[in-house]
Symmetry: C2
Subunit: 252 residues, 2 copies
DNA sequence: ATCATAGTCGTCTTCCTGACGATAAACACT
DNA sequence: AGTGTTTATCGTCAGGAAGACGACTATGAT
C-alpha cells in the first residue's frame, strides 16, 4: 500500500484535561462552560485541538497552562518546582462522540495543589472547580437544589476514568504529594488520601505508614501549626515514585 | 470558535497492537515484516488505519482478527470464550513518528494463549512470534548471531510500554489467565507468571496464594497429566478481575 | 485553668509472605 | 516389581505489615 493521502480518513485530534485538586476536603475537577455549540452553556472538561507541529504531551501542557497558569512537571525533573503532575490518561474515539465531525480526544490527567479561582481560557465564558461527585451525577440535583446538566460530550466518562486512575495510582505511587504544596504535614497528606478515596483513615496508622515507607517523605526540619492543634513536622516529597509497601485503600 | 474545518489540522489515526503470548517459557510478541516503505523489510507491530465509521476498540479488534484470527473478548462477557483480552494501552503522537505524514497511533494490548503460527495480514509479507527481549534489543544480535534491526517507527517504545503494562497488571488482576487455555493447572499459571516476569517462583507458595485468593480460580473437577509428573487439578478463571490480596512480583 | 484540636509514639493481635521440609501420584527406566 | 525423576500439594515456622486502639504531647480558644 503506497502512500496515498486518500487511503485514510482525516480526523481531528484534541486533548482534553481532567485537572484534579483537593479543596475543602473534597476532590474537585476543573470544568469550563462551553461558549458555543454543540452543548453551548453546558459544563465540559478543558481541552482543545492539537496543533500540526505539536506532540500530544506538549498540547496537554499548553492547554493546562492556558486554563490554569500551571506549568507541567518535566517528567525527568525531580518534583521540586511548583508544576502540576501531568500524564496521559486514555483516548476516546467513538465516531459519534462529537456531532460535528470525527474527533479523537487524547485525555490527560493533571493533579495540582489547591489553587486560586481558575481563569477562563480563550474559548470558555466561565470556569470553576467543582466536586467530582457533583459533575458525575448525571441529571441529578446539585447542593443548591438546581438541576445539574451532565457534562458535554463523553466528558463524564473521561472524568470518571481520570478519577479512578487517580484513586488507584495514589495507592502504589507517591502521586498524592502532587496535591500538596511543596512543604506539607502528614495530616495534610492524610486529608488528601481521605478526600480522593472518600474514606476516613486512622491518623496513627497513617502516620506510621507514610513515615516508614522509604523515600516517600523527607523532613525539612520546620514545623507548622496552620491546621491548629499541636505543631506538625513539615515534609517534602522524597525521590521515590513507587511506594513499597503500597498504601492500601480500605475495602468496602 | 464556530465550526470551521480549516481550524484544525487533519491527522491520520491508526491502531497498533502489542499482542503477547507465552511460548516455550518466554514472553513473545507478534511482529510483522513491513512490505513497503518506510522501514521496508523491518519488523513492526501489526496495525492499520482506523476507518471512518469505526470506534477505536472496534478497529483494534478488527486488526487483531485480521492478523491472528482471534476474536476479542467482549469486556462485558465472562471470560469463558476463546477470545483474547484486549485493552487500550496508550497513544503516540510525536509529529515526526511517521516520516510520511502526521499519524497518531492508539496502541492496544492483547493477551492470548499460545497459538499456532500466525498468519500474515493483508499488508504484511511475513509475521512471527518473537521473544520480547529479542525485539527490544535495538541493534544487537539475535540468538542466531545475525544482527537485529530495531522495530520500525516508535514501535520499540510501544512494545516496551505494553510489556510493562502486562507485567504490572498481572500483579493485581486475574489477567494472567488470559495467557492460558480455558482449562489450566496451577503449574501452567505459574509458568505464565515466570515467563512474563522473568523470574522463578516457589511452586508451593504460589499454589497457596492462587488457590487462597477468592474468586481467582474455580476447580473444574478434572485433572491432567500433560506436564508429566503427578496429575494436577484443572481450573478455569473465576469471576474476580481484581486480586485481593495481589500477587507480588519479587523485587530485585 | 480547662477544653478542644491535632500530632506522635506504643502495644497487641491477626494476616500475609518467604523459606523450606515432607508426602503423593504419575511416568520411564531397568 | 523396584527405583529414580518429575510435578503437585500440604504443612510448619519465623518475620513483617496492618488494623484497632490506648496514651501522651503541644498548641490555641474560652
Amino acid at each position: 500500500m503506497p502512500y496515498d493521502p486518500s487511503a485514510f480518513p482525516p480526523f481531528a485530534v484534541t486533548v482534553d484535561l481532567v485537572v484534579l485538586t483537593v479543596r475543602r476536603h473534597s476532590l474537585c475537577a476543573l470544568a469550563v462552560r462551553r461558549g458555543e455549540p454543540p452543548f453551548q452553556g453546558r459544563w465540559a472538561l478543558p481541552g482543545g485541538f492539537v496543533r500540526a507541529d505539536e506532540d500530544l504531551s506538549q498540547a496537554a501542557a499548553r492547554e493546562l497552562a492556558e486554563e490554569t497558569g500551571l506549568r507541567a512537571h518535566d517528567p525527568a525533573a525531580p518534583a521540586q518546582d511548583n508544576g502540576a503532575h501531568l500524564e496521559q490518561l486514555a483516548t476516546y474515539g467513538d465516531p459519534k462522540r462529537d456531532p460535528r465531525m470525527r474527533v479523537v480526544s487524547v485525555a490527560h490527567l493533571a493533579l495540582a495543589p489547591d489553587l486560586p479561582a481558575p481563569r477562563a481560557g480563550g474559548d470558555a465564558s466561565n470556569a470553576r472547580w467543582a466536586p467530582v461527585e457533583e459533575l458525575l451525577q448525571q441529571g441529578g440535583y446539585g447542593r443548591d437544589g438546581e438541576p445539574v446538566a451532565p457534562l458535554a460530550f463523553d466528558h463524564a466518562q473521561i472524568l470518571a476514568d481520570g478519577v479512578e486512575r487517580a484513586r488507584s495510582k495514589i495507592e502504589y505511587s507517591s502521586l498524592a504529594t502532587a496535591f500538596c504544596t511543596p512543604e506539607f504535614t502528614v495530616g495534610e497528606l492524610r486529608r488528601v488520601y481521605e478526600a480522593v478515596w472518600g474514606v476516613a483513615l486512622d491518623p496513627r496508622n497513617f502516620h506510621r505508614k507514610v513515615t516508614g515507607t522509604p523515600g516517600f517523605l523527607v523532613p525539612t526540619g520546620g514545623t507548622t501549626t496552620r491546621q491548629g492543634g499541636r505543631p506538625a513536622q513539615l515534609f517534602r516529597a522524597g525521590g521515590a515514585t513507587l511506594l513499597n509497601p503500597p498504601m492500601l485503600r480500605p475495602e468496602v
